[in-house]
């Protein structure tokens, strides 16, 4: 039994677990058979939805199992299969109810986001990218207009509230009304492991290599060509 125990527990699991509803926990326990099943995805989501701290070899710790409710679970537990290459993001396989998602999101608010670890991974593979523009900033969140692209390629403009923790520390000073950003969904790749994640990436004016004088001269030339009148 001990051979299958969790070797790398995510931090502060107990406090997280205390917030997980009893029903969701029981359901997850009953069906947990390693990676690949929807309910193990649920477990993973409930442990740490940001996924950057979750080792892919996560196993069910015995102290989190309620023996009186599911005594046979540990006996039935098998080592997880390797992560399938075809799986793009864990999110695509999530089958969570709205209530479970709300729970998971609430838990996750306290976690460090993947964005803060940007640069420590070998590679970031991008799956989708939406544009956004900040409208208003609050203490723990910000509101923005986002341009969503559906499967048919149509664009829809929507307003959204983002958690401020999606923005990395280095970009916090950019979080101001009017700032343009990308919301990126993808995965980090590190030592053969894929960690699905998402982050908010602020668009900067790229370094053009022009001096101020050159940029202004270019602007003056075009401004004159436009032919403004008073």
């Amino acid at each position: 039994m001990t051979g299958t125990l969790l070797s790398q527990q995510p931090h502060d699991v107990d406090s997280e677990l205390s917030e997980v509803s009893g029903r969701a926990w029981d359901r997850a326990n009953r069906n947990a058979r390693g990676w690949g099943t929807p309910d193990s995805e649920l477990l993973r989501a409930l442990y740490d939805v940001s996924k950057d701290d979750v080792p892919t070899g996560l196993r069910l710790p015995p102290d989190l199992v309620r023996p009186s409710r599911s005594p046979s679970l540990i006996d039935r537990y098998r080592p997880p299969p390797p992560l399938p290459q075809a799986r793009v993001t864990a999110v695509q396989k999530l089958r969570l109810s709205e209530r479970q998602i709300r729970r998971a999101r609430k838990n996750r608010l306290e976690h460090e986001s993947a964005a803060s670890r940007l640069g420590t991974f070998e590679r970031f593979q991008l799956f989708s990218q939406w544009e956004g523009s900040v409208l208003a900033v609050a203490e723990r969140s910000f509101r923005a207009t986002v341009l969503l692209t559906d499967r048919q390629g149509h664009r829809h403009r929507r307003e959204a509230t983002f958690a401020a923790r999606l923005v990395r520390e280095a970009d916090r000073d950019l979080l101001q009304p009017g700032a343009a950003f990308y919301y990126c969904v993808g995965r980090f790749l590190e030592k053969g492991q894929a960690v699905p994640t998402s982050l908010v990436w602020f668009r900067r004016i790229p370094p053009s290599g022009r001096s101020l004088e050159e940029a202004l001269a270019r602007g003056a030339e075009w401004s004159e060509h436009i032919g403004w009148t008073s």
Partner: protein
């Protein structure tokens, strides 16, 4: 949105104010079948610029649009403006002087060209389109830089004049300095355009017509510094200028855009003017306190873009991804229209019609003001 499709008669003036949760646009019929536009936003459902759709609904030909103005480059005021400029090739394009100089033009050239949500990009597309106005033989009038105390446009018979009250010269110099700072090759300064504050250089317009006038406040705010904001506009408002009976309330009715002089100097005090305000859902504007203030000052208050109407159209995985990331998408709000009409030169009052997601504000719509918390005193001994 329920459409208003009856066109005004030739001798009628019309001001239509469109608004949604995010977005503001004005359509002005100056008489004689001639139209003009101030700002633009896209219908959240059809993605079509609302001004363009209104013109199609009324059957207005492209030659009958005389001017298109951009008060400033914030997304909620400029989205779809380039499409309108393209659609109406004979319309004069005008924008604040703060954005016609070499510094802002340089910013637009430096800005990444592939960014669709940026107001700067929309301005750049407008600039590219109006550039053709400088060519000989082009039907488009040359574009106009707008500064205070300037006649921006006038109808063929000079009966209606669009006159600018802002940006003031004080606001322009501040805006230009901001833009220059942004171009400096200092990483801390050139990072994000969010540091620029386009509201300070917003256009404010008076539309003069025989016997009346309307005041279009743009997004100008009051910052309390001399020569800028509303205090600058009011201080430089000549007493010979006519007062207005209709007020498009600036900056979505926010307290920061209120200035007493607007109501005592620029608008009629008796009878009190009509006020129309558009929503800005992100900042929850206008708040009940703002509407209450407007109700106190105006004869009647109208608001566009009140209730969310359009459900979201996301796939399951997308919805879950957003939920897991703590991102709350909001349903798009419906478009509302407040239409004010009156016969040119008549002393009749305004005929006001509402369509779509627009309403007249009454005290009953507002929540009761918060009372100050009761102070806990020592309990009296009986």
């Amino acid at each position: 949105m329920d459409e208003l499709t009856d066109a005004p008669t030739e001798d009628e003036f019309e001001l239509s104010i469109f608004g949604a949760g995010v977005g503001e646009a004005l359509a002005i019929h100056v008489g004689g079948g001639q139209w003009g536009f101030v700002d633009s936003f896209r219908d959240p459902v059809s993605s079509e610029p609302v001004g363009l759709r209104y013109m199609k609904d009324l059957g207005v030909s492209t030659q009958d649009v005389g001017f298109i103005l951009a008060t400033h480059w914030h997304d909620d005021h400029i989205d779809g403006l380039a499409e309108m400029v393209e659609e109406f090739p004979e319309a004069m394009f005008g924008c604040s002087s703060a954005y016609t100089g070499k510094d802002f033009t340089a910013v637009t050239l430096e800005y990444p060209p592939d960014f669709k949500t940026s107001g700067v990009q929309e301005m750049r597309r407008c600039f590219e389109l109006v550039e053709s106005g400088a060519k000989p033989g082009s039907p488009r009038p040359t574009p106009k830089r707008i500064l205070e105390h300037q006649n921006v446009w006038w109808s063929p018979d000079d009966a209606v004049v669009v006159h600018a009250l802002a940006p003031t010269s004080g606001a322009l110099s501040r805006a230009e300095q901001d833009i220059i700072n942004h171009l400096l090759p200092d990483a801390q300064r050139r990072r994000s355009l969010g540091r620029l504050k386009p509201n300070q250089a917003s256009i404010v317009l008076n539309v003069w017509m025989p016997e009346d006038s309307v005041l279009l406040g743009g997004d100008l705010e009051e910052r309390g510094s001399a020569g800028t904001g509303w205090s600058g506009v009011v201080a430089r408002f000549p007493s010979s200028y006519p007062r207005s009976s209709v007020f498009k309330v600036p900056h979505h009715g926010s307290a920061g855009a209120h200035f007493d002089g607007q109501w005592t100097t620029l608008l009629y005090e008796e009878p009190a003017p009509f006020a129309a305000v558009t929503s800005f859902a992100s900042s929850d504007l206008p708040r009940d306190g703002d509407l209450r203030r407007l109700l106190h000052l105006a004869q009647a208050v109208y608001q566009c873009g009140v209730t969310p109407t359009q459900p979201l159209e996301l796939t399951g995985p997308e919805r879950r991804r957003l939920a897991v990331d703590g991102i709350e998408l909001e349903a798009a709000r419906g478009v509302g229209q407040v239409r004010l009409r009156k016969k040119l030169g008549s002393s009749e009052t305004w005929q006001i019609t509402l369509a779509g997601d627009a309403r007249q504000i009454t005290e009953a719509d507002l929540s009761s003001p918060k009372r100050a918390p009761r102070r806990r005193g020592k309990r009296r001994r009986r």
